[in-house]
Amino acid sequence: MNVKKVTGAVSALALALGATAATADVLFWSTQAKPVEEAQAMREQVLAGAGGIDYQPNDGGPWLTRLNAELQAGSGSIGVLGALHGDFSAMDPADLVDLDGLGASASATFNNLAMLGTDSMQYIPWMQASYIMAASKEALPYLPEGADIDALTYDQLIEWAGNIKTATGEAKFGFPAGPKGLKHRFFQGYLYPSYTDGVVRTFASDSAVTAWEKMRELWAVTNPASTNFSFLQEQLLSGDAWIAFDHTSRLAGAFNERPDDFVAFPAPAGPTGRGFMPVIAGVAIPRTAPDMDAAKALVQHMLKPETQIATLRATNFFPVVDVALPGDLPPAVQAAGNAVAKMSGSADANPGLLPAGLGSLGGEFSQLYTETFERIVLGGQDIRMVLDEHKVRLQAIMNDSGAPCWAPDAASDGPCPVE
């Protein structure tokens, strides 16, 4: 009899009986790959070869609370942390073990971000993603004349969604403005860079007023139920949205379920280029990790090329190291990969960076952009007034955190000024 089968049966049996005995598994405490299918794939495909790993994805709240409790208590069970750059940058670097020499990503920018302002790697970049556009093929006949779907402008996008609204009577642009939606990233990484060539410096500039006017125009042809949309794959599949903007992994479900019905394409461009923003997740080790060697081995495992490809299949997050991608990737990965490649390779590309250096004020920073959207677009308040009011708060956040400007804002000495 096959040995593998026997061990499989034994472990299944042990599971069924509820093996509660403490095991020496390395606890992988993650905020990523949370959906049940992704968690399952992480356990079965990505981590299966790494020895005893207990992969536990969590909501941000319990994730941070548990981590802080272990740091305060001075001992714990978490071996490796998996989270977004923003989660790590809100932490005290002293609570994370220095990871120099365990590997690095192919991007110097990412590696620099991962130092969190210190001289050594506080986390190791693990995987990356971005935000793209997706559309149902039903929407394609309504594209404005002469528009190239791979090189759209915001005006063309608005016209396109407007054509659909005129023809069908329904607004079919879907925007992730729901409670768990990632709308703030659209403003920080897409709208502002495309219209003002900045995020912080240009927050209250005249070009920002234009940007918000465009946002209002876009909202007029957006499905008003968007304030409930957080994962646009659902609305693409149900037909409530024909055109959508979202995180690649939040669109993946639509492509994987009905690959022939949807297309992925780059985000639109504005007067100052095609703004877009990466998403970086990393792995780190808290200073309270029970088995430091095993934790470091797991971090190294996550950066192996074959693990990176398995991670791509499992989570739709792309590798951060140089690997040759195989040809048989899931439809969502191919679609998103192409769209991201076109976006970053376009002549007018204006890549931004993730907010950096904000520390624990990162949440407040994003909240400010969300509130600006709510007051201007949903509440219909005067754009200039709202921007001037929020400008003061934004400057306070920058001063309190001491964060210097990041791309596409011009570099600054000291805290990034709001002009």
Partner: protein
């Protein structure tokens, strides 16, 4: 005459439609949950919805193969059972004391009981987790049950308090004159009368523990409860898995309530029907 029968029948109509509405209120969502659980992903996303399930077991099969489900289910049941027992064992005597005895600080005591619900768990979870790690009851079923008992206690104290208050002390006094001690009077006379109410507060405790996510997610790692294990992953999962996961979370609680309904209905004098 005709008027009276007409008003009677219209009254009956209102009554019946009220009954139907209330039943539908509970049953229709559960029915949709069931249909969507047994539907393929395409059918779940389709609109209008079919009223007949197509018995596609794909979603349920996924969870059947999902590592750790069974042990999480077992943990959930254990935690809920311990919570139930502890909250009755601690709550019922407190309710009895509040209704039968006058003592100093009674009002403060009642207020304090309510105060345990005044602080949101995310606020308390951090110091609790630190304390649990230091005392070694971190990541245990019993430790989590202690937290859930704290959450359930106010309800069990207040429910049993009003139960005992509703039973005249004369009944107990009569039992004493007929040879009962304080204890036997309680077990032979009072307990049978309050049993349905105690069952109700037990169900409450069970459901509170069953549904609690935050403390469970922070305080357990290897011994996760089903809600901590599943619920926080479901909100980001595809629709068909949300339905199936919701179904899996709801069914055990329903089965439990169904199993103890006899004691609950005894309250309204329709036991064993």
């Amino acid at each position: 005459m005709a008027d009276i029968s007409q008003s009677r029948s219209s009254g009956r109509f209102v009554y019946m439609s009220g009954v139907v509405l209330l039943c539908a209120w509970v049953l229709v969502p559960l029915y949709f949950l069931l249909i969507n659980t047994l539907s393929s992903p395409e059918a779940v996303n389709a609109f209008p919805k079919s009223f007949i399930p197509e018995f596609d077991l794909g979603s349920l099969t996924f969870f059947a193969n999902f590592a750790g489900m069974l042990s999480a289910l077992k943990n959930s049941i254990f935690v809920a059972a311990i919570t139930m027992i502890l909250s009755i064992v601690l709550g019922a005597p407190a309710g009895y004391a509040l209704s039968r005895f006058e003592f100093r600080g009674k009002e403060t005591f009642r207020f304090l009981i309510l105060l345990t619900r005044a602080f949101p768990l995310p606020l308390l979870a951090l110091p609790l987790a630190v304390m649990f790690i230091r005392t070694g009851i971190d990541d245990t079923i019993f430790g989590l049950a202690l937290i859930h008992t704290t959450l359930a206690l106010p309800f069990s104290v207040l429910i049993t308090f009003s139960l005992f208050s509703g039973i005249p002390i004369e009944l107990e006094e009569a039992a004493w004159t007929l040879g009962c001690t304080r204890l036997t009077a309680f077990t032979k006379v009072i307990l049978p009368l309050v049993l349905p109410g105690i069952t109700a507060s037990a169900i409450f405790a069970f459901v509170i523990s069953w549904n609690e996510v935050f403390a469970a997610a922070v305080l357990t790692i290897e011994n996760r409860t089903l809600t901590a294990f599943l619920l926080q992953n479901l909100d980001t999962s595809p629709l068909h898995l949300k339905f199936a996961g919701g179904f899996i979370l709801v069914v055990p609680a329903l089965v439990f309530i169904f199993a103890v309904r006899k004691y609950l209905f005894a309250m309204w004098g329709i036991a064993n029907r």
